[in-house]
């Protein structure tokens, strides 16, 4: 594909999508939680910009609305809520370094190649720009998944979860000019409720194990199955 031969809008969309992919890598490697939240907000902004640009190109007013919802939710509201939680749990200075940074980033690169391969069948009836954006959005989804696997901090896992949502939104916008409005509203509502629930959970987890290190949660489960402590039930 030659970038120069594409229409200007497609070029811009591709560049923005590539930057979103870059931000997914940055999110994966960023060990400081505060900075990670900012990276997440930037990613949301890039995705919203793609939606607005696609809307401008296709003169589709509903895409402007999707872009506005994303801007409000992913760029402003959710980062703000995470910020507040961070302050409330006094984790501003907390860092959560990756256990194997080199290995993780290699896996991330492999994921991008894999996503490109999965998106290959799309190429035959769409021009190549769309195919590339679909590959990128799948890569962002899977990188979010990887982030949830390798990070131990509950808050970092939530960022991975929300980054997956960004990838899904990008896929919907790029491939199909957005899902029907009622579905997008439903998805946005679900994401918002999920974020509120995450907030409740952080406080509960903090109360019960006095840390947000999710590894300590799995130790509990292991002891149930191994049948050691447990049962303080009345």
């Amino acid at each position: 594909m030659n970038l120069g031969t594409l229409p200007l809008v497609d070029q811009a969309v591709l560049v923005l999508a590539a930057m979103a992919l870059f931000s997914a890598f940055a999110l994966l490697a960023q060990s400081r939680l505060l900075a990670a939240i900012h990276v997440f907000a930037w990613q949301g902004f890039l995705v919203a910009a793609v939606a607005a640009l696609t809307g401008a190109a296709s003169r589709d007013p509903h895409l402007y609305l999707s872009a506005a919802i994303t801007l409000g939710l992913k760029v402003l509201l959710i980062p703000w809520m995470l910020h507040r939680l961070l302050r409330r749990l006094s984790l501003e200075r907390q860092a959560d370094p990756l256990a194997y940074p080199a290995l993780t980033l290699l896996a991330a690169a492999a994921i991008v190649v894999f996503a490109d391969w999965v998106a290959a069948p799309v190429a035959q009836f769409e021009h190549s720009a769309t195919r590339n954006v679909i590959a990128i959005s799948l890569a962002i989804v899977l990188l979010g998944l990887l982030m949830m696997v390798v990070r131990r901090q509950a808050l970092a896992q939530v960022l991975g979860f929300m980054a997956m949502e960004n990838g899904l939104f990008l896929a919907a916008v790029a491939s199909t000019h957005g899902m029907p409005l009622v579905v997008e509203l439903g998805v946005a509502f679900d994401v918002l409720v999920a974020m509120v629930l995450f907030g409740v959970f952080f406080l509960q987890i903090k109360d019960s194990i006095d840390s947000l290190d999710v590894d300590r949660l799995s130790q509990l489960s292991a002891s149930i199955e191994r049948d050691e402590i447990t049962e303080q039930r009345p």
Binding site: V118, P121, V122, F125, I134, L138, V141, G144, L145, M148, A154, Q157, F161, M164, E165, G167, L168, A171, A172, S175, T176, M179, P180, V182, V183, G186, V187, F189, D190, V193, A194, L197, F198, V200, F201, Q204, I205, S208, I209, V214, L217, S218, L220, S221, I224, E225, D227, T230, E231, Q232, R233, P234
Partner: protein, 491 residues
């Protein structure tokens, strides 16, 4: 239409209403009344569909495949509400494990869960289906952590994360499906309407559909409890309140499987002319068999009674997935019947288990002993439930498993011995745990509790009668659903 609205939107009104009722006792009664109203609506809907055929329009679709699941969902919702009222009152007032605010949350989210289930079943829009299934996760996640023990919080976190991730894959699959549809869509049609998609399914691009189905299967499969994505299920079942376990096992797993089968119908039609026409079926068979075999082995060496039965749920979901994967009218009919009888039996078992844990004041299998002597109704209820779930004649599960086995014998004879072996292992695993709980000598200070066994009796009687004779109405419906899914009638 009015019946449909009554069935689906009564629980939505209930979600808002019950959040406002401060008295736990009153909320329990209101919960009961709302569930009864929803059941009345779903019965009216069923009669309407029976007399005048499928209902289609305004974004809803009720055909023979989902109408019996709607009735089942509303019915189990009602009987579990009957059980939940005294049970949660006991937890709230006698054990003091739940605060008044917790009770409000519980009742509100119980109705919220029923709403999402009924919406997921009746909607015609695959996007709304996704939103509803995700909504079901959100409604139940706080209920799993209701007791606020570290184990409960951990279980809820795992449930949230695993199902959230899984369901995100399903959304990607839905986007891919929408993308495939956009190129062949008639102008003005909504590309996420299942009925529209079904009409144009043969024209959908096969290779994109394979990708879409893989993502949808992994996504909704997480909620079905397919191995290796099942690990949230035992945790959520064992740590949440028991009425929640009953509706999770009885309803949520079925609805997730329903979503997978709707997608399979589209994929089968799209792939019919390709080189791998049965790819979706083979994927389901593989996942189903793996799930079934893993779960039957896991039934042994359990220490927690609710974990034991949640593994049994995984086992049966694996069996159903396998049945739908085998395809063909007989196996599909068997799997549809199995969805019905498993939901009835498993929710009745969880109700009994709830009473048993109150009697023994623990969920640990080693410390639950001599239920028959302490309280015969609960002991016999548990025993009969396990006899039914293990697939003994004359209960309905025997009928569906027998049909499934004969279908497997006909098309995949070398897989049938694995199924039989699995069923035997499952039987052994259940009975080695159940036998001492029911017949052993009770601890000295064990006392009977106030137990309402009516829901259990009703469920088991239904399962029994389904094992002896399937009423013509139901067999017509299941036959029509089989026709819809496989395109061939049952001989």
């Amino acid at each position: 239409m009015i019946w449909l609205l009554l069935a689906v939107f009564t629980p939505l009104a209930g979600t808002l209403l019950l959040a406002l009722i401060p008295r736990a006792r009153m909320a329990g009664l209101a919960n009961l009344a709302l569930s009864a109203l929803s059941l009345a609506g779903s019965l009216g809907l069923a009669l309407r569909v029976l007399h005048r055929g499928s209902l289609h329009g305004h974004g809803f679709l009720v055909d023979p495949f989902n109408v019996y699941l709607v009735v089942l969902t509303a019915f189990v919702g009602l009987t579990t509400a009957v059980f939940s009222r005294p049970y949660m009152e006991h937890v709230h007032l006698a054990e003091k494990r739940v605060s008044p605010a917790g009770m409000r949350l519980y009742h509100s989210m119980y109705q919220g869960f029923l709403f999402t289930m009924l919406l997921a079943l009746t909607t015609n829009n695959l996007g709304i289906l996704w939103v509803a299934v995700e909504g079901a996760t959100l409604a139940t996640v706080l209920l799993v952590s209701l007791y606020r023990t570290p184990a409960a919080i951990e279980a809820a976190w795992k449930y949230f994360i695993l199902c959230g991730v899984g369901i995100a894959q399903a959304l990607f699959g839905t986007v891919a499906l929408y993308f495939a549809a956009q190129h062949v869509l008639p102008p003005g049609a909504n590309g996420l309407d299942w009925s529209t998609l079904y009409a144009i399914a043969p024209q959908l691009e096969p290779r994109v559909m394979v990708v879409a189905f893989a993502f949808l299967l992994v996504g909704y499969g997480t909620k079905v409890g397919l191995v290796p994505l099942h690990s949230w299920l035992p945790d959520a079942h064992s740590e949440g309140p028991t009425p929640m376990s009953a509706v999770l096992s009885g309803l949520l797993l079925n609805v997730a499987l329903y979503a997978v089968i709707r997608m399979k119908m589209l994929t089968d039609a799209a792939l019919a002319a390709s080189r791998t026409p049965a790819l979706a079926g083979h994927l389901l068979m593989g996942f189903g068999l793996l799930t079934f075999l893993t779960a039957v082995v896991s039934l042994h060496r359990r220490h927690d009674i609710k974990r034991l039965f949640s593994y049994s749920s995984i086992e049966h979901m694996g069996l159903m997935t396998f049945g739908f994967g085998v395809g063909g009218p007989l196996a599909t009919f068997a799997a549809l019947l199995h969805m019905l009888v498993h939901a009835l039996t498993k929710s009745s078992i969880f109700v009994t288990v709830g009473h048993a844990t109150h009697i023994a004041r623990t969920q640990r299998i080693e410390r639950i002993r001599g239920l028959i002597r302490t309280q015969p109704a609960v002991g016999w209820g548990l025993l009969l439930g396990v006899v039914a779930i293990a697939g003994f004649p004359p209960f309905g599960i025997f009928a569906s498993e027998f049909l499934l086995l004969s279908a497997t014998m006909a098309s995949w004879p070398w897989l049938a011995p694995m199924l039989v072996l699995g069923l035997v292992i499952a039987f052994a695993g259940l009975f080695r745990n159940i036998q001492p709980m029911v017949f052993g000598t009770p601890p000295v200070d064990q006392q009977a509790v106030r137990a309402n066994m009516l829901p259990v009796m009703l469920h088991l009687a239904l399962v029994l009668s389904l094992g002896i004779v399937i009423p013509a109405v139901l067999s017509n419906w299941l036959g029509a659903a089989t026709m819809l899914i496989t395109g061939a009638a049952l001989r």
